[in-house]
């Protein structure tokens, strides 16, 4: 004897059975609406009514029954009645908890047959839920950089599950498989703690198996393996591949200005890098858009598994924000075909030189040579660099935010208050260049300003500042060293590349502080001495830069201020610093974008999709950019709008799939679909359906409903036709 279990896929739909009363209501309402006629031949009318009443009533009730039955059948079909054999469900108590994990990394946006892989994954999940066993429950997780739990408790509500699956949206970032596995384990444990009783549990991961997501760095592999093992110990894990075997993709991986600072009236080179992640050479059209209109187009050939640089020269003639965009349309993954950039060209860079040893006589002060080198033109007001020289008091009585760059020359020490002001200045995007000298007190420098990479702050550095890129270890003098430009690798020294013969390396330095750069710190050497000691060290602090020169800015410690190279060097330093450490007003998906907003007060921000949100950076939680594109900070009428650009991380653009053997080694006990390609979705679902062995009755009901509808139409026609036919009897 075969035991059968009956159930509904969408039991809430049964509420629509109330609609079955509609035909009856319509019938009753129609009876209340009639015309009125005075009539003489009542004898024959009554005779006809008496004779026909029974037949008419039978016809009307028959039609009414057919119409009601039609509605009932359609509602029942929508509710998804299912008949499942007991052998399939393994007995009355058999049920399965399925945790569906859908890969939401942006590589799943790859379009195939007019549908993205993500869309296919969702369709597959919908089908699994529809065709799953009657006692099965589901949870739902979107695999993303931070996994999104869409259904956190076992649910049998098919409508809710379908809605939640439909609401899942593709992220514009990569996905974290370890974090998702951890979250899945936690969810299953949580369901177990809540007392949910299921005969078995299953985790189904639907993904394109992109290598970036599924092949973590070597240091993470053990962790990933451990998490797979932890999950497989409690459940069976199945991975369904919806990816495409050999997917071609081109991405705009970089878009920047060649020079860190763009100057009004001077040609700027806009550089875009396009990467070909496919196995074929591609000839790609590249478009440049500025402020919403196309201003340039080029074609470029990108070799297989290679990249190409496209350069658009552009002259900016206004000192305002320019919204730039590079487009390389045409491939199947659209999200990485665009990249955005905000350029704010400058007319002038304001530099404040702080002289720690001011002198009334020409070129006797610590910053005199520097000020001349920064602005050597006779018409200083026309110079790009506008330089002011002040004493140490300037650190207190000047508003530092008015300046793009500070040059601190031979300043003996800093108070804690000054250090805090410098720190705030760096947070606002300003940059600082330290020139040393005889007045400098290294210990107080270390204590108050702090040294990068050192864990223990000095006695004065209670605030934990790390402004100095290197420790001033000791003063070195008595021996002359020459400058080692380190191959002019630093962008600041780009102008000297290929011109080494001009003698930059022969400049003597006879007195300097030996700088100790922490290996653990972010500082890097820009220039060194031939004995290996650092001469110029740089580190990014907050949104600004800090440069530390081991010698002085006057000719007392080196010949640098006296040689022609001094002028371009300090000007390059000033422009480099003025550009700031922050990459303009450009960020990346997944990063907080509060940095582009004013520090205090709420601001309305228009997102790339057109929605406007009120953002309060001081409200506590940082806002994470989840969309790429142009963001507009809506300002007041007087201040105008500001913009910032968010781009995707193109690491996800490489659609190469993870090596299968590596995957199996990393995830033992996990069932993978053997077949490759999008066809897998159907076969995987079909396998699940076979497993469930349930008989769906909705199709049968719909066919019956169709038959009823046809029957109703025929009966209505037949009854009406017979009356019409009879009515022409003379």
């Amino acid at each position: 004897m075969v035991l059968l279990a009956f159930g509904w896929t969408n039991p809430l739909m049964l509420g629509w059975l109330a609609a079955a009363a509609l035909p009856l209501l319509v019938h009753l309402l129609r009876r209340r609406r009639y015309r009125e006629v005075s009539w003489a031949a009542m004898r024959w009318l009554r005779a006809a009514i008496e004779h026909e009443t029974r037949r008419v009533r039978l016809e009307q009730w028959g039609l009414l029954a057919l119409r009601t039955l039609f509605i009932v059948l359609v509602v029942l079909a929508a509710a998804g009645p299912r008949l499942q054999s007991a052998t399939a469900i393994g007995g009355a108590g058999d049920n399965c908890l399925r945790l569906l994990v859908i890969d939401g990394s942006y590589s799943m946006g790859y379009r195939w047959d007019d549908q993205t892989l993500f869309g296919r994954a969702k369709s597959l999940a919908q089908r699994m839920v529809r065709e799953g066993g009657l006692g099965d429950a589901y949870m739902l997780v979107l695999m993303a950089e931070r996994p999104v739990v869409a259904v956190d408790r076992p649910s049998k509500d098919r409508l809710l599950l379908a809605k939640r699956i439909e609401e899942l949206s593709l992220s514009e970032s990569e996905a974290s498989l370890p974090a998702t596995l951890l979250k899945s384990s936690e969810l299953l444990e949580s369901a177990d703690r809540d007392g949910s009783r299921f005969s078995r549990a299953e985790v189904i991961i639907v993904s394109d198996l992109q290598a970036k997501t599924w092949s973590p760095a070597a240091e993470s592999r053990d962790e990933l393996r451990h998490r797979f093992e932890r999950l497989a110990a409690k459940t069976s894990v199945r991975v369904i591949n919806v990816g495409v075997a050999s997917a071609e993709n081109i991405a705009v991986s970089q878009f920047k200005t060649e020079d860190p600072l763009t100057i009004v009236g001077r040609p700027a080179a806009l550089q875009a890098t396009l990467e070909n992640f496919g196995s074929q050479l591609h000839r790609q059209a590249v478009e440049l858009w500025a402020d919403g209109r196309q201003v340039g187009q080029q074609a470029v050939e990108i070799p297989a598994r290679g990249s190409a640089l496209v350069e658009f020269p552009r002259l900016f003639d206004e000192e305002r924000e320019h919204r730039l965009e590079i487009r390389a349309p045409g491939d199947r993954l659209e999200i990485d075909n665009r990249r955005f950039l905000i350029v704010s060209p400058r007319k002038q860079v304001r530099v404040l030189c702080v002289d720690g040893r001011p002198s009334g006589r020409p070129y006797q002060g610590a910053a005199d040579y520097l000020a001349l080198g920064l602005a050597p033109s006779a018409k200083r007001e026309l110079d790009l660099l506008r330089v002011e020289t002040v004493g140490e008091n300037g650190l207190i009585d000047r508003d530092l935010r008015d300046y793009d760059c500070l040059f601190l020359c031979n300043v003996s020490h800093f108070t804690a208050g000054q250090a805090q002001r410098l720190d705030s200045y760096l947070r606002d995007g300003g940059s600082i260049v330290f020139f040393l000298g005889e007045h400098v007190d290294p210990e107080r420098y270390h204590d108050v300003l702090g040294v990068a990479g050192e864990s223990k702050p000095g006695p004065g550095g209670g605030a934990g500042l790390r402004l100095l890129p290197a420790r001033l270890e000791r003063l070195v003098s008595g021996q002359s060293s020459q400058i080692n430009p380190l191959g002019f690798r630093h962008p600041m020294l780009k102008a000297w590349r290929g011109r080494e013969e001009e003698g930059f390396a022969k400049i003597p330095v006879w007195k300097y502080y030996r700088l100790k750069v922490s290996e653990a710190g972010p500082a890097r050497k820009v220039l060194a001495l031939d004995n290996g000691d650092p001469l110029l060290v740089e580190q990014n602090v907050h949104r600004g830069r800090v440069l530390l020169v081991a010698t002085s800015a006057d000719p007392g410690w080196s010949a640098l201020p006296l040689v022609p190279h001094f002028v371009p060097l300090v000007r390059s330093m000033a422009l480099w610093c003025a550009a700031g450490a922050a990459p303009g007003r450009t960020g990346q998906v997944g990063q907080p974008f509060d940095v582009f907003l004013a520090a205090h007060g709420g601001q309305r921000v228009q997102l790339p999709d057109g929605r406007v949100q009120m953002i309060r950076p001081d409200a506590g939680s940082a806002r994470i950019a989840t969309q790429s594109g142009m963001y507009t900070v809506l300002g007041q009428a007087t201040t105008g709008n500001k913009h910032f650009a968010i781009n995707v991380d193109t690491a996800e653009s490489d659609l190469a799939k993870v090596d299968e053997s590596r995957l199996r080694a990393m995830a033992p006990g996990v069932a993978f679909n053997e077949n490759d390609g999008v066809g897998d979705a159907g076969s995987a679902s079909a396998a699940l359906a076979r497993h469930n062995q349930s008989l769906r009755l909705d199709t049968v009901l719909l066919f019956v409903a169709l038959a009823v509808a046809l029957g109703e139409t025929f009966c209505a026609w037949r009854f009406g036709h017979s009356r019409r036919k009879a009515s022409i009897v003379p």
Partner: protein, 296 residues
Amino acid sequence: MPNAPSLLDPQTFARLQRFSLRARLMVEGYTSGVHRSPFHGFSVEFAEHREYAPGDDPRYLDWKVFGRTDKYYLKQFEEETNLVCHLLLDASESMGYRGTVSAVSKLDYAKRAAAALAYIVLHQQDSMGLATFDNAIRSWVRPSGNPSHLQDILQVLEQTEAGQGTSLAPILHEAADRLKKRGVVIVVSDFFDDLDTLSLGLKHLRYRRHEVIVMHVLDPDEEQFPFDESTMFHGLEGAASVLAEPRAIRARYQKEFQAYVRALRAACHGLSIDYVPLRTDQSLEAILSDYLASRG
């Protein structure tokens, strides 16, 4: 020309002048006319002999018969007399019905038919009488051959309104009793009454040797029942209202109604009564001309 613009216009009078209503049976008139009379007078057309009785006019003794038989016989001749036509007009409430396509109600149509017949009869110098009724006789105009009598008839017709329910059979019996002289009786009605009792009334008239003409006035809606939507039928003549789906019962209604009309026609035929259907959407002049022409 009579002045009755609402019932008969001058054009209609002009067209009706060429028609005449001849009695098919013998009628008893008051004056000599073109219709055959049951009274054997002294005319040119020989009818029969009868034995002489004291008091007979000796001028009509047939001496040739006396010579052969030695008995006194009088010659009798056919006498032609004038026609006395009685028109019974149904003015019950059901006659007030006017359908969706007709321009006039059944009563208006019947009044025009009566006026036309009155004009024809009086124009041929015969006598015309009129009775209107619903459940009783409401007006009675004695027959007269005076041309000015048309005016009286038309005035009565003008004043006739739809009244109460029909009770046709008693009216016919009463008319049969009242009309002593044989003549032509024209009954204009929708005959919405019981057919058996109605037949008895007609038979009574025929028993009195009247020539009877039944003019059956119908509205086309009563034949076709052209309603589609749900309809509340408010019965005339006091019948209760009923709600019906006309489309569902149309065929049956038509069948019942046609059966009644056929039965009425058959009853008339059995009593040698002319049955003339009058449909209010059809030309009265055409119907009358066809009918009068068919009578010769």
